[in-house]
Structures are given as structure tokens and as C-alpha cells.
């Protein structure tokens, strides 16, 4: 048995690069998130939205990947926002302190507003 595969896709709305994340956000699968982040960064993204699915499974390995992305985002002076998380994982992200570096929004619309 493996973790459910992760599906990553990249889209763009105006000047915001959106990384859509669906599936298991774990240390191994999360490498795909890191790759997507590197790709949009190479394309010059300054505003990045991580768009999760409410049914995503996120474990501490995946959280480590996201902290890595937040850390690189800070160094690259990028603004990173998050949406789509279940209320449980919004709480988890607050608990680990990730929300000090990335803001969580209740919807894509609110996340894109005044980015």
C-alpha cells in the first residue's frame, strides 16, 4: 500500500501562480510540491497560492516540505498564501506556526483579493 498519489497542477490568475494540490501531502509526495514551487519561481512568480483540497491527508513529512517552501519564499521575497485546507489542517498549520509566514484564506477568491 502506498499513500494516495499526489496530483499537482499549476495555473495562473493575473499575476498569481496557483499550485493546485490534491492527495497525500507527505515527505515523498511533497517533493512534487517543491518541484512545482521551483518551476513557478523559475518563471518569475512573486505571488504564489497553494491551493489544497479539503480531503487532503497531510502529515508531518508534508508539513516539513511546506516549511521548506515558506523558507525559500521568504528568501526569494515572494508572497505565499494558502487556501482549500480543511478546518483541522488550518488548525495544524497554526499550531506549527506556518501561518506566521503564509496566510490562510477561506476561499480562492479571498486569497486572490488584494494579493
Amino acid at each position: 500500500m502506498t499513500n494516495r498519489d499526489i496530483e499537482i497542477s499549476i495555473s495562473k490568475k493575473d499575476d498569481v501562480s496557483i499550485i493546485n494540490i490534491k492527495g497525500d501531502v507527505t515527505a515523498i509526495a511533497g517533493e512534487a510540491i517543491e518541484e512545482a514551487y521551483q518551476k513557478v519561481s523559475a518563471d518569475g512568480a512573486n505571488k504564489i497560492l497553494l491551493y489544497f483540497d479539503k480531503d487532503d491527508y497531510i502529515n508531518s513529512g508534508g508539513i516539513a516540505i511546506l516549511i521548506g517552501v515558506a523558507s525559500e519564499g521568504m528568501k526569494n521575497k515572494q508572497k505565499i498564501r494558502i487556501t482549500g485546507l480543511s478546518s483541522h489542517f488550518q488548525k495544524i498549520f497554526h499550531m506549527v506556526g506556518l501561518t506566521k509566514y503564509t496566510e490562510i484564506f477561506p476561499s480562492e477568491e479571498s486569497a486572490l483579493k488584494e494579493f
Binding site: 500500500m1 502529515n59 513529512g61 516539513a64 516549511i67 523558507s71 480543511s86 499550531m95 509566514y101
Partner: protein
């Protein structure tokens, strides 16, 4: 439901199998009347305990098992996760600031999440060898 009912399962030290333990614990918690929020807390704690056992206790040796025991009492559920090896991973409190600044590796959140989400957590060696994490979640009325 009568008190002191035990349910045991054993999963291989293969990432992904922690989901079985998660769903088993969630199913029991739902039966006991836990809220959805606390069931999600339990699932995350069980997942992290299993992953810790696989990685740090059993060193991802696929020939080893992680044992999970659910002990049902009237107003609480105890979940015990046991590995066959040594080591429980880091118990120090992680600092996101250190990790963001690159002073510390980004991993190391498992134990912190377990302790934050469960009402009681104990780490102890198993009499048969290996380590045991005991987690207790209270049923709030």
C-alpha cells in the same frame, strides 16, 4: 459499550499503512461519541505515532511491524503504538523560526503534534523490547 475493550492491529513498517490505524481509531472514536474535531485530532496523532514507530523505531525495515492497541474505557480512549526497535525520534520542541531560517532541519513535528493534540502522552520502553507511545484522548461530554 462496556469498559476495557481492547482492539489490536499490526501494520508493516511501510509508509501509507498508518492510514489503516488512523481509520480504525477514528471508527472506534466515532462509535464512542467523540466529536468530528477530536476524531481528526486523533487521526493525526495516530498517524504521527505510527510514522514515528516506522521511521525511528523500526528504521523502515519492512520486515518489522508496528503494533497498535485501542483500549476503550467509558470516558476515554487509549491508543498505544509499539515498535520493535530503539529510539522514538526527537522529543525536543521544534521551532519554526529555526527551521525557516535554515538553522534546523524542517522535519521533526511528529511528537510535537501528538503532544499537542492528545490529552495525555507517555513514552516508555516495551517489556518485550522496542518503544511504546501511549496516547489518551478524553471523551468530553
Amino acid at each position: 459499550m462496556t469498559a476495557d475493550k481492547n482492539i489490536e492491529l499490526h501494520i508493516p513498517s511501510v509508509m501509507g499503512y498508518e492510514k489503516i490505524a488512523m481509520e480504525c481509531a477514528a471508527s472506534m472514536a466515532k462509535k464512542m461519541g467523540f466529536t468530528e474535531d477530536r476524531i481528526e485530532d486523533l487521526k493525526t496523532a495516530v498517524a504521527e505515532a505510527c510514522l514515528n514507530a516506522m521511521e525511528h523505531g523500526n528504521k523502515m525495515d519492512t520486515s518489522t511491524k508496528v503494533g497498535i492497541t485501542l483500549t476503550v474505557e467509558e470516558s476515554r480512549l487509549q491508543v498505544t503504538v509499539k515498535d520493535e526497535g530503539k529510539g522514538v525520534g526527537e522529543i525536543v520542541s521544534p521551532s519554526i523560526e529555526s527551521k525557516i531560517e535554515g538553522k534546523d532541519k524542517t522535519r521533526g513535528w511528529g511528537i510535537y503534534l501528538i503532544k499537542s493534540l492528545m490529552n495525555e502522552v507517555k513514552f516508555e520502553p516495551s517489556p518485550e523490547g522496542g518503544n511504546v507511545i501511549k496516547m489518551i484522548i478524553y471523551l468530553e461530554k
